[in-house]
């Protein structure tokens, strides 16, 4: 019961702020709503017994990525609001219809998959550690060591690429 109340409250927060992010006129307000949305998702991770991911979500998304967005919004001077100019060939309504079609498809898949017999839990890897953070760390440094290193390489490349792109002259 308590879990159901928590789920519905968090779901309302996530969806409400997500709609505000997409619809608000002011870009700075949109970024701030994005922070609240990420905090709601972090609360959902706690509900799903993933406290390590919740901490990562707050540190990386709400702390790092959003600050990056705020810097860019402040650097890009919006004297002329981008929504003022409109392309006569643009069909804005079509976007809503396409999004509605994707939603119908996803809902149909979810409803059909809910009818299937539940999958038995996979045999968990024999892990000599207990606790969420320890288990995730164990997996990252044993079975998923190579993808982990590739991800760190990707972050290094992205860092260099961002510096090169944002530099005024090389």
């Amino acid at each position: 019961m308590g879990q159901a109340i928590a789920f519905y409250v968090i779901a309302a927060v996530i969806l409400g702020f997500a709609v505000l992010v997409v619809t608000t006129r002011d870009t700075v307000h949109s970024v701030l709503f994005l922070v609240l949305d990420f905090l709601g998702v972090a609360a959902l991770y706690v509900l799903l017994h993933a406290p390590f991911l919740a901490a990562i979500q707050i540190l990386v998304y709400a702390g790092g990525i959003v600050v990056l967005y705020l810097f860019v919004v402040m650097l890009v001077n919006l004297k002329r609001p981008p929504e003022a100019h409109s392309d006569p060939h643009r069909r804005g309504k079509l976007g809503f219809w396409l999004a509605g079609a994707v939603l119908a498809e996803l809902a149909a898949i979810t409803a059909l998959s809910a009818k299937l017999p539940p999958t038995a839990p996979l045999p968990a890897a024999a892990m000599p550690v207990v606790g969420n953070t320890e288990q995730v760390g164990w997996l990252l440094y044993t079975s998923y060591l190579i993808p982990f290193e590739i991800a760190s390489m990707l972050l290094l490349v992205a860092m260099i690429g961002a510096i090169v792109l944002a530099k005024r002259e090389l």
Binding site: Y61, L94, T110, A114
Partner: protein, 100 residues
């Protein structure tokens, strides 16, 4: 009783809000934030299945998704800054240099 289906429906709704934002808005910064919402919807799915199958691999993949999202935000915002410096606009309708 909250089942995995509930989390899947929440994830689908968040995904659709992101898709609608990408297709309807003209401000490219808002479009990037909508992409972050889409990636978050994927992460919710991964972690919901990780919880229901009692397997932590889903959380490992969610960490990789977060790493890719961070890289995408850094490079994408760098491109926005470079473009704004040249063309003085962040409206995607005016970004038609490569349009045929």
């Amino acid at each position: 009783m909250i089942t995995t289906t509930h989390y899947q429906l929440l994830s689908a709704a968040l995904f659709i809000i992101g898709v609608a934002g990408v297709m309807v808005r003209r401000n490219i910064i808002i479009i990037f934030m909508s992409i972050e919402l889409i990636l978050n919807a994927v992460n919710i799915n991964l972690i919901a299945f990780s919880d229901s199958l009692q397997n932590e691999v889903g959380q490992v993949f969610a960490i990789f998704v977060i790493a890719v999202a961070a890289a995408e935000a850094a490079v994408g915002l760098g491109i926005i800054l470079a473009f704004y410096r040249n063309k003085e606009t962040i409206n995607i309708d005016e970004m038609n240099l490569m349009k045929w």
